[in-house]
């Protein structure tokens, strides 16, 4: 039997779409997830492929228009002679372009978003859409197109094997912007939040528009971000600056002071706030025990008065930044900060010293300073060289000014 002499790599089924602007419809949604969130996650799953090719994907919501890929969440026998088998086992299947390109998902699975529980919708959908585009299963274990589900990967990136495969079919990316309009969300290469220009109520986004420097931006629950500045805070959602803000921090987070240095939410669902030599821990907006505590006791090896803290999408570890230096904090290690730290921030190519804050959004880590922001490409370990270039104005792209 011996090891196979053929080196491991992607596989092409043999058919592909002749056009690169593809349309899809979600004609049956999963029974356990919010439709808007499903729209976003599936658009993001298509985005995995448009990031490296000129493919564009437009969701069609109206009932009658012809689409290339139809998406359905079904249970058991669902009309194609390939019944699903309940929780576990087969999660989904899809048809190669020559057979229509449709993607079916087993609605008996517990589909989840950004969670270690259940089955991650984004990852399985991206895999099935690989089939819809003409990729077969790869025998590279780390490839998205490997057949087995590997659990939720918070810092998911497309494997080089998958990139080679999809570019074999559709060529490399030449156009800077990927998405197309259509009547639904579109997936393109730039996952920066597309905040529509919403008229800001007097004093709501206005303060941020006048001066977009902030104390911290952090992700709280799933895709809700908060901006802290002085004693005030704003809520950002995918749809823009939420109405009815700013509000006083202490009105919502009882016991938390203003002028926060940094904040992040860890995968245990707890949010940590830092100011001077102290830190606080909250679950949602409820203080989670007796705080404040000393950073030197709870985060041994991390200095007081930090600039920023973030759970980096590259490896899920916590990073702290102060002045020209950064520290990696791994709670599972003893000591949690290795003796090789601090290291110069210049290691993070393109990221400036003395940053204001850092946060994560849709699988990317973003850094902010003086009203500008940078998106970091974890794979190349450098600022993303997307177009338009970084830094970009925070006021326009994050606050909708």
């Amino acid at each position: 039997y011996g090891a196979s002499s053929r080196s491991k790599r992607y596989a092409l089924q043999g058919s592909r779409w002749r056009v690169k602007s593809l349309k899809y419809r979600i004609s049956k949604y999963p029974s356990n997830l919010n439709h808007g969130k499903v729209d976003r996650e599936l658009a993001r799953a298509f985005g995995v492929w448009s990031d490296y090719t000129d493919l564009t994907f437009t969701q069609v919501k109206s009932g009658s228009e012809q689409v290339h890929i139809d998406i359905r969440f079904e249970k058991g026998e669902h009309g194609d002679g390939d019944p699903f088998d309940g929780p576990g086992g087969t999660l989904a299947h899809a048809y190669f372009p020559v057979y229509g390109g449709d993607a079916h998902f087993d609605d008996a699975e517990h589909w989840t978003i950004d969670s270690y529980r259940g089955t991650n919708l984004f990852q399985v959908a991206a895999h099935e859409f690989g089939h819809s585009l003409g990729l077969s299963h790869s025998d590279v274990k780390t490839a998205l197109m490997a057949p087995f589900y590997r659990g939720y990967e918070p810092s998911f990136t497309l494997d080089a094997d998958d990139i080679l495969g999809i570019q074999k079919l559709y060529g490399k990316k030449t156009r800077s912007s990927g998405g197309s309009s259509g009547d639904g969300s579109s997936s393109g290469s730039d996952n920066t939040p597309k905040l529509p220009k919403v008229p800001t109520a007097p004093g709501s986004g206005g303060t941020l528009c006048k001066n977009a420097s902030v104390d911290t931006i952090f992700r709280a629950e799933e895709d809700t971000h908060y901006v802290f500045k002085g004693d005030l805070y704003w809520k950002l959602t995918d749809d823009g600056v939420a109405a009815g803000y700013p509000r006083k921090i202490s009105d919502s987070w009882q016991g938390l002071p203003g002028d926060i240095d940094a904040a992040f939410t860890y995968r245990n669902g707890k949010t940590y706030f830092f100011k001077g030599p102290h830190y606080w821990r909250y679950v949602g907006k409820r203080m989670d025990g007796d705080y404040p505590k000393l950073i030197s006791e709870g985060f041994t090896g991390i200095p007081d008065n930090i600039d920023a803290a973030v759970v980096w999408t590259g490896n899920g570890k916590i990073y702290f930044y102060k002045g020209t230096k950064f520290w990696k904090f791994d709670p599972a290690q003893r000591p949690p900060v290795k003796s090789i730290y601090p290291k110069p921030i210049s290691n993070w190519e393109g990221i400036p010293n003395n940053i204001d804050t850092a946060t994560v959004y849709h699988g990317y880590t973003y850094f902010f300073k003086n009203g500008q922001y940078w998106r970091f490409d974890d794979r190349s370990f450098a600022v993303d060289n997307a177009n338009p270039k970084f830094p970009r104005p925070t006021s326009k792209w994050w606050f909708g000014c």
């Binding site: 087969t90 025998d139 087995f148 589900y149």
Partner: protein, 78 residues
């Protein structure tokens, strides 16, 4: 599929047929007849594809991999 339960030779044949390692229709397995060499070869092909030790035997590692949640598309097409 017997997720978590023990995987018999027949289960393995059905799995290997479902995912393209054996060209047999599932109904042919209901007769209970299958050829041991065919099974061993198919298992070895699966082990090679999944990056496991290639033994041709239904060992624990192979059973565990067959129990993983996965995509329903065949691994071998044509």
């Amino acid at each position: 599929f017997p997720v978590g339960g023990d995987i018999s030779d027949t289960n393995a044949m059905i799995y290997l047929s479902q995912f393209g390692y054996i060209n047999k229709s599932l109904s042919q397995f209901s007769s209970g007849y299958f050829n041991r060499d065919q099974l061993s070869t198919a298992i070895a092909d699966f082990q090679s594809f999944a990056g496991l030790n290639i033994t041709g035997e239904l060992d624990e590692e192979t059973k565990a991999t067959m129990s993983l949640p996965r995509c329903g598309v065949k691994d071998r097409i044509g």
